[in-house]
Each structure stands twice: as C-alpha cells, then as structure tokens.
Amino acid sequence: MFGLGDLSLTYLASTTLVSLYVSTVAVVLSAAVGLPISLAVGFNDFYGKSAVTSVISTGMGFPSVVVGLVVLLALSQSGPLGSFDLLFTPEAMIISQTILALPVLVSISLSAVQSVPQDRRDAAFAAGGTSTDVALLVVREARYGIVTALLAAYGRAISEVGSVLIVGGNIVFSDSTSFTRTLTTAITVEARRGNVETGIALGAILLTLVLAVNALGARFRDRTPGGRAR
C-alpha cells in the first residue's frame, strides 16, 4: 500500500473492483432479461404495444433514489425479500442497478430491433430462413444498436450514486478495503471530506473505465462490415 494522504492503492483498487463487479453483473442481468423482452415486443404486434413501449421509455427516467428506496424497503427485515438478508451487500446494489439499467437497455435495443427494415426480414424469409433464422438475422442487423444499448446501460449503472448509497450503505472495512463503496459513492464521500486529490483520482478512474467501454463498442462497430458510417 502506498500512501498519499488518504489515497491508498488498496482503497482505489477495491473501490474500482466493487464498481466493476456490481455494474457488470447488473448489465449482464439486464441483458439476459431485457434483450428477450426487446425481441418479443419488437417482433410482435399486439394490443397495447405502444403503451408498453411508452412505459419502457418512461423507465429510463426513473429517479435512482426512488428505486433505491423501493429496493431498501423490499430487502429490509420487514420487507418481502428480507429473509434473503441482502441489504447493505453488493448483491443489493446489483438489484437496484439492474432495475435502473433495464429500461435503458430495453428501450434502446427495442428501437434498434424495430429499425431493421422489413425488407431485410423478407429477404431472410425468402432465402429459406425459418422464423428463428429471421429473428437471428434481425439481431445481427441490429447489433450496433444493441451494443449501444449495452454501453448506455453500463454507463447508467457505473455512474449511479443514489440507489447504491441507500441499499449498499457505502461500507469500507478498517483496512481501507471497500465492501459496498463504489467509485461514485467514494467520490461523494471524499469530496465531502475535502480529500480533493483522492476524489480526482477516483473520478479519473471512473472516466477511464467509461471511455474504455465506449472505445470497445466503437472498435466493434468499425471492425465489422456495414458498421462504419458512410
């Protein structure tokens, strides 16, 4: 551990790891739930589809502290999920981040799926594709939009403060190892304490992570035929 005021490698590393762990698992869960929802809504016409789409879009603007409060009540001892004893754990933070990331992911990926022209679906069908083949073709055609949805969901999750503060408790052990403290909640704490250097270091790490994730998305887009803008 090297010291520079309150700045310690253990603190930075563990806080970063908690952020990555919580956000990554939340986005994976959001994708596992959200992508099938996007495909189901995107492929089918049904009564009330526009209402469903509106609800999903509205979810993108959920206030994170309200989500945190609801998850807190659900996970508290007297709440319906209290028996799982998850409150003030990384898993509680994953739940709240999943709820926040899900509408972002569904809304953007749904838009991507719906934007695939009908004539490409027709071409896949006419080429002998089954309904499964056509669905896979649509996912492939919408891949850049779906990657954008994943990136946006990741951005929403990793930059989240309010709900993870409420359900995670912002806990750090006495040896400076983070348990439920993320980069964002750590910045809040360090700024309040006047530890500007630590706050800046944490902010730089957060920005680097976000940039790295977006760079990966851009690299995917540019290396695939049809992906580069013309």
């Binding site: 004539d119 071409a123 896949a124 080429a127 002998g128 089954t130 013309r230």
Partner: protein
C-alpha cells in the same frame, strides 16, 4: 449447382431427394384472390411458371404484381384459391414440407434488401440456413479462424451476375445496380427450381439491367422456372417466353410473349402495349 428437381424433403434441407422429379417444378396460382383490410388486391388469378421458361407478369405499378409474387413465395396464404407446386396445394402441406417447398423458390425484391455484411455473407445466407446448427457453428468457427473460404457455389452465383470480383466487398459499399445483382445471386446460390424477380431492374442503368437480364437467361438455360414482375414492356418482350398482363388485380391476358404483344385479344392490353393506357 445440383441437378434440377427432386421431391420434397421433410427436413427442409437443400439435399434433393434421390429418385425425385429431375425436370424441375411447376409453380402455379389457381383462382387466386387476395385482399387486405382496405379491399381486394388480386382477383381470380390463374397462371403457372414452368421449368426452363421466363414468365413475365406485366402491368402498371400498384396492380398487384408484388402481392402476387409474395403469395407465390409463400409469405402468407391467399384469401382464396391455391398456390400449387406440381399440382399440390402448398398450404395443405405440413409445415416442414412447406418449408422444403419454400426452399426451392428463390426471390429477389424491388427494394434494396442486402444485409449489413459482406457480399459473400449475403450470397451464402440461403446456403447457411439450410445447414444443421452444428454445421453452422463449425462453419462460423472456421470463418473466425480464417480457415473457410467462400464456397464454389457462392462464387458461381456471383459470376452469373457478373460480380465475381466483388465477393469480399462490404454490401453497403455497392451501387444500387450491384446490390440488386447481389440480391439475385443470393436467390440463385441455393440452386432454386423457381426464381421470382420482382421489378429487379427498376431505376437501374442499362449496364446493370443487361447483366440482370443475362442472369435471367442463364437461369432459364439451367432449367429454372423464372417469373419476372415488371412494368417495362420492352424488357418483358426481350427476355420472356410467356407474358401475363395484370390490370386492376386481374389477369386480363396471358400467352406466348410474341402473341400477347403482336395480337392481343383484349383491347386494354393493346392500349397498354401501345402506351396509350396510362395509369
């Protein structure tokens, strides 16, 4: 390319069944009517496309040619009447047998319909979806590792439309004419028995039009039954053996192309051929 014909394989695979009909298939519409919520589009259409011929379905825009071709390509069942292959009502067949029928019919559309991928990936699509999932995964891994090159079938289909040198190009970088030719190569690659071309040369320059007409003739020479929807009367005359004239959703005349053009029995056809019937 495989030999023409074969009987329907329940698996829907590309493999022709040994001992089947080796002379191709006859795709027919019998008393076909179709409508949407806002009214009837097709009324009592009966026509057939035979192996080794080009049938031109001509008529003004909006007269139901695309709807007819979508019904022949089995996108949906007709409101009334039947789509028949070698005399069998296709919509009475099991789903697996209908898929097998569908996989012997190729179609290219008027609109730009290439996938966001390379030319090779577009043309090989019809071949890939006919393979088992295990083979598809092995092929995908092989491609990712750079072990699989383009198949001879794909190269041959592209050569048929004069684009053998474009195989590695990104489909998005093609001109409209080249894209339409790739779409036809995609329809030809699985070696269909029937090829449906819906206004394949509308808005294309003479060079691309000539290339597509050459591909039609090559398909006919291979014994493929080619149906061409067009509002270009001169093109119908150049490439087709028989012509059916659609007007207001009804087939008002059909027969050998020379006879339909030179001595039509219906006065509306005469005026349409002469360019005096304007829609």
């Amino acid at each position: 390319m495989t030999a023409r014909g074969g009987t329907w394989d329940d698996s829907g695979s590309e493999r022709p069944v040994p001992g089947g009909n080796q002379t191709g298939i006859r795709l027919a519409a019998r008393n076909l009517s179709h409508g949407f919520e806002d009214g009837a589009v097709l009324e009592d259409i009966s026509l057939a496309v035979e192996p080794g011929e080009v049938l031109a379905v001509v008529g003004p825009s909006g007269t139901g040619k695309t709807t007819l071709f979508r019904l022949l390509a089995l996108f949906e069942p007709p409101t009334d009447g039947t789509v028949e292959v070698d005399g069998d009502d296709v919509w009475e067949l099991s789903e697996a047998r209908r898929l097998a029928v569908r996989r012997r019919v190729g179609m290219a559309f008027q609109s730009r319909s290439l996938f966001s991928a390379t030319v090779e990936a577009n043309v090989s699509y019809g071949l890939r979806v006919r393979r088992s999932w295990g083979t598809r995964v092995r092929d995908a891994v092989g491609r990712a590792l750079g072990q699989n090159g383009p198949s001879e079938t794909v190269i041959e289909a592209l050569q048929t439309v004069g684009l053998g040198d474009k195989i590695d190009r990104d489909a998005a970088s093609l001109s409209a004419g080249e894209a339409q030719r790739v779409a036809i190569a995609r329809a030809l690659a699985p070696d269909p028995d029937v090829l449906l071309l819906d206004e394949p040369t509308s808005n294309l320059d003479p060079r691309n039009t000539a290339a597509i007409e050459s591909a039609m003739r090559a398909a006919r020479a291979r014994g493929i039954a080619v149906a061409l929807a067009t509002h270009d009367m001169q093109q119908a005359r150049r490439v087709s053996d028989r012509t059916a004239v659609l007007l207001d959703g009804a087939c008002i005349e059909s027969g050998p192309t020379d006879r339909v053009f030179d001595s039509p029995t219906d006065d509306r056809v005469r005026r349409f051929v002469d360019g005096k019937l304007v829609y």
